[in-house]
Structure formats: C-alpha cells, structure tokens
Amino acid sequence: MLIQLLRTSISSALPISTAALGASFTHMLGKLNIAVEGTMLWACFVSVYVADRLNSWLLGLLAALISSCILSLSVWSLHRYFRANIFVVGLGMNVLISGLVVLLSSTLLGSRGTIFFEKIPQLPVLRLSSSRSDGIDVLLSDYNVLELIAILAVLFSWIVVKTPFGLRMKAVGKNESVAKQLGVNVDTIAASSFILCGLYCGMAGSLLALPLGLFVSGMTNNRGWLALVAAVLGGDSPLGVFGVSLILGFAVALSHRLQLQTNVPSEIAFAVPMILTLLVALTYNVLTKARKRG
C-alpha cells in the first residue's frame, strides 16, 4: 500500500521535477522564468497533436521540445533586446498560451473539452521480470520510456551544474557585471540556460500528455507553479530541486488517492498539494532562519 503510493509519487514527481529543473537553470541566472506553466501546457498540446498526426511518439516529443525552446527563447529575447520585465513577459506568456491552446484545440480538433487521441502509439515500458514481487520490484518497475528519459534529465542537470558552463551560469546570477569583466559571454550563457529551460519544460509537458494520450486545457493544473516553488526552494542544487519535487509528487499522489478512496470533498483534496507545499516551504524557511541565527 505504502509502496504503491511511493511508486505513484515518483511518477507524479517526474513532470514537476523536470519543469522545476528547467526553471532552476533560469533561477541560477537570476532571471526566474515564470512562463513554466504555459510552456508545459503548450508542450502537452503539441506533443499529443504531432504524435497523433505523424503516428510517432518520438516525433511528438521532438516537436514539443523544439517549440518549447522557441517559447522560452522568445521570453528571454523580449527581456534582453527590448528590456521587457521578465516577470510580466512570463505572466503574459502563460495567459497567451492558455488562450491559444483552447483556440487551437477547438479549431483544429473541434472540441474544447477532453480530447482523446487513439492513434498515438503505445510507449515502450520497462518491466523487471524477476520472480520476486516485493516492494523493490514494484518501486523499480513499469517506467515508460519518457519517465526514463526524465530520470536521465535529472542526472544530466546535476552534471551540467558541475561543468564550467554551470559555474558560469551561477557566476552570472551572482554578479553579472563581474562575470562580464572576467570574460564570460553573458548573453550566450543566458540564452543557453533559457534553451535548457525550454527543453526541460517541453519534456515535462510531453511526460504529462503522451502516456495518457489525451489533452485537456487544464491538464497542467498548477504543476508549473509548483515547479517554480520547487525551483526557488531547491536553490542552486539540482538534487535539492529534485528532493522538493519528490515531496510535491507525493502530495499530488496523496491528493489523487484522497479523491478516489475517501470521502474528503474533492475541492479540499485538490488543495492538498498546495497546503503540503506551503507547510514544507515554511518549515524549511523557519529552520534555515533559526540555524542562521543560532
């Protein structure tokens, strides 16, 4: 029972953690990309739509990655070349995409509600065929290929931060002008970190939509915002970000379970991830504050 819950927690945590890692790259740079929620939603739509039309989940994933990169880069370009406020652009991008996605789904697919795509090929799933059926087996088995890629992406981000590129990113975040005087090409670093953010958000969106093979305009359901919270709390450490995301994934899984198996009102169950996150964030904050004092 508990193992099952843990297993679903990991699956719920993966989209959040990939998006959070994407956001944390821009957070390290000192320019948090608020558009994560919108970019994820966009990737959800593009991935299932393209996968359905071209009959290949891989092409769907690629299309989602590329188009999310473009979105992310345009947020950065508006900020860098036209001096727009990055926070406002991000907010605008979220609003724009929430409208655009419904527009597209109602004109291209003729429905504003839940759309099922039957033609999407099944994703390959990893099965461990050991004879034991104990906890570890349940915990390690049945990941689909996208989830495996997402796990690799988590490891990749951990490596990225250790490379000279990652260090430069942090340096730019700490003090842009000093970094510039030390010969760091600030624009290249910033653009690359926004490209990374786009890639990770695209991955997160595909991870939500492709395994289900359906699209609803509310399917990200605040996961992007939870990811931002994880990015802020995790700070500069990808493992920290991933750790916070795991807690959030647990909260999401718990909320689903509460809805299905208890008679807690569903509205309250929806709020559970938010409440848990707030409590975790608060405890963390109070504890670190106390440590600094004492």
């Binding site: 004109t107 002008s177 509205e267």
Partner: protein, 340 residues
C-alpha cells in the same frame, strides 16, 4: 526620448492588434464579420457598452490592489484567491440579514477583512521568517480558491440552482444600475473615485511618501526611521482588502450571488492592469477598460459569430508580453544597461 516611448507604445498596440486580426482570420469561418464584432461590437449599442464598463470594474479593483502592493515594493500574487474567497464569505454573511443597508454593509466589511487577512498572513510570514512573498501569497491564494469552491459546492449551495452557487441576495441589497438595460452599476463610479483617491494618497500623504521611500530603497527608509515591516504589512493588507472589495462589488452589482468560478482570473488580469498603467493609480481605470474592451469584444464576437471567446486571453497575453518592452531602444542605452 519621449517620442521614442510613444512610438514604442504604438508598436505594442499595433502588434497586439495585428496578431489578433491574424488569429481571428485563422479561426473564424467569417473573418470580416468577426473582426467587426470584435473591434466595434462593444460600442455598437448601450447594452454592450454598459456591460463592457461593468466588466472593467473587477479589474479596476484588482488593478488598484496590485498597484498598492507594488507601490510599497511588494508583490501580491494571491489576488485571485482574495478576490474570489472573500466575495463568497461576504455573500454568505450578507445572506443572514434582511435589512438592505445592514446587509450591504456586512457584505463589504466581512469581505474586506477576509481579503486583508488572506494577504496579511503571507506578509507576516515574510516579515517574521523572510518567507518569499511571491510563493506565500500565491499559495495561500490558490488554497483559498479551492476552499471557496468547496463552500459553494458543499455547505452553502443553493439546492435549487443547476450549478454551484449561493442563494440570491435580496433585490434591494444590490447596487443601483446606472445604464439599463446593461449591468453597469454604481460600483464603476466608486472604482474611479478610489483610483483618484489612491493617486492623491500616494502623491501627497505621509503614508504615500513612506510607501515610495520603502519601494525606492528599503535600507534608506529604515535609516530614516520608517518602520519598513509595518509599511509592508499595511500595503499587503490594503491590497488584499481592495481585491476582496472588487469581488464583493461584482457580486452585489452584477451577479447578485456568488457563483462558482465567477472571478474568471480577474486577479491575474489585475496585475496586468496595474502594469499597463505603469503602476499609476489615476490611470488604472483606463487600462482596466482596455483589457475589458478586449474581453467584451471577444465575448460579443463569440455570441454573434461562432468564435471561441478565448481569443481575448490570447490578445491580453500578447499585450502583457509587449507592454513593458521598449522598442526603438538606442544602441548606446542597451549596451550601457547590460554592463551596469
């Protein structure tokens, strides 16, 4: 420089309109008809015009709320929850009184205090534990959106309604209509008055001066003997109370009861309204009107020709993306800024 600024806003508006024309032509079966209703529709008769003004009222209040927080250098991302939840609580409280004046008074006071409380708590967390106020206000706001949904769907649902909503408030509790048959009500005038009141407060009062100093340079303000924490708490509570009043006035003026999802994202669009007005309280009713114009245009177009009303969100999004951008920036200025 000034002419460049003006040119820049012209580009913003031109791009927004260009993009909306393009998307309207793409998605609509009869582009010319749709364009006509989208752009001219809100002015075509008294009913549509009044409704457009009425739909700007929530944005005036949430815009002012965002502006008050901004003007003390703080962010309030929880406007949506404050707007929605407080209006529901206010309505529920007002349903218990039969006297119109008392009921109206109770509604406004209860909702304003609920809204103030919802933003006061995250502000207090920031002051006491330096808890990031973006996260704090957003999370608390979202949680209470769900709690509001629960109240409407569970204990306070009107059993005879087809959807989640409270019972209707008395006809005489509602605000006076000023442009029948449209739903424009006196709340609009109150909103505009508040805009100017806040403009003068911000410009000429001591509190306004303290707000401006804290926003400009908190450390300087502290040395000057201004209680920075207190200013933050006041600004946030005021911001929450204003958002809540916006919700309550929308209920009293237009809906007559709290309906599930009646806020339609007014909290977030309010932030846009404030930024569009460059955080100047005296201009907020104009930026709110502009955003409401886009919204009503889309609604009328979807009513008259079959187009999805989400076009409004798309156009509002484009406006938001471009609103703080500065086109025709001088090369010199761009380079100077990136090294600074």
């Amino acid at each position: 420089m000034r002419s460049l600024r003006i040119l820049s806003s012209i580009v913003t508006v031109a791009v927004a309109f260009g993009a909306s024309v393009a998307i309207l032509c793409l998605v609509s079966p009869e582009p010319r008809e749709t364009l006509w209703w989208f752009f001219v529709g809100p002015f075509s008769n008294v009913y549509f015009f009044g409704n457009m003004l009425a739909s700007s009222v929530p944005l005036i209040f949430t815009g002012l709320a965002a502006c008050v927080a901004f003007s003390a250098g703080a962010f309030n991302l929880g406007l949506e929850g404050q707007y929605y939840f407080s209006a529901i609580v206010g309505t529920i409280a007002a349903l218990n009184f039969s006297n119109a004046t008392v009921s109206r008074f109770v509604a406004l006071v209860v909702s304003a205090s609920a809204g103030a409380l919802l933003s006061f708590v995250p502000a207090l967390l920031k002051v006491k534990f330096s808890f990031n106020e973006l996260i704090g206000t957003y999370m608390v706001g979202q949680i209470f959106v769900y709690v509001g949904d629960y109240l409407l769907n569970g204990p306070f649902r009107d059993p005879s309604a087809a959807f989640s909503a409270t019972r209707y408030l008395n006809e005489n509790v509602r605000l006076t209509r000023i442009l029948p048959p449209s739903s424009l009500h006196v709340g609009y005038l109150i909103g505009i008055m508040l805009c100017f009141l806040f403009y003068f407060l911000y410009r000429y009062s001591t509190l306004g001066y303290e707000f401006r100093t804290v926003r400009g340079n908190p450390r300087f303000a502290k040395i000057h003997g201004i209680n920075v924490d207190k200013i933050l708490l006041i600004a946030m509570s005021l911001s929450g109370a204003l958002a809540a009043l916006g919700g309550m006035i929308d209920v009293l003026g237009v809906h007559g009861r709290a309906v599930k999802g009646f806020s339609h994202g007014s909290g977030f669009i309010g932030i846009a309204a404030s930024l569009l007005a460059n955080n100047d309280p005296s201009l907020i009713f104009l930026s709110a009107l502009f955003l409401a114009y886009l919204d009503s245009g889309a609604e009328i177009a979807s009513l008259m020709v079959q187009t999805p009303p989400e076009i409004a969100r798309f156009v509002q999004g484009i406006v938001l993306c471009m609103v703080t951008a500065q086109f025709f920036l001088e090369r010199r200025e761009l380079d100077a800024d990136s090294t600074a």
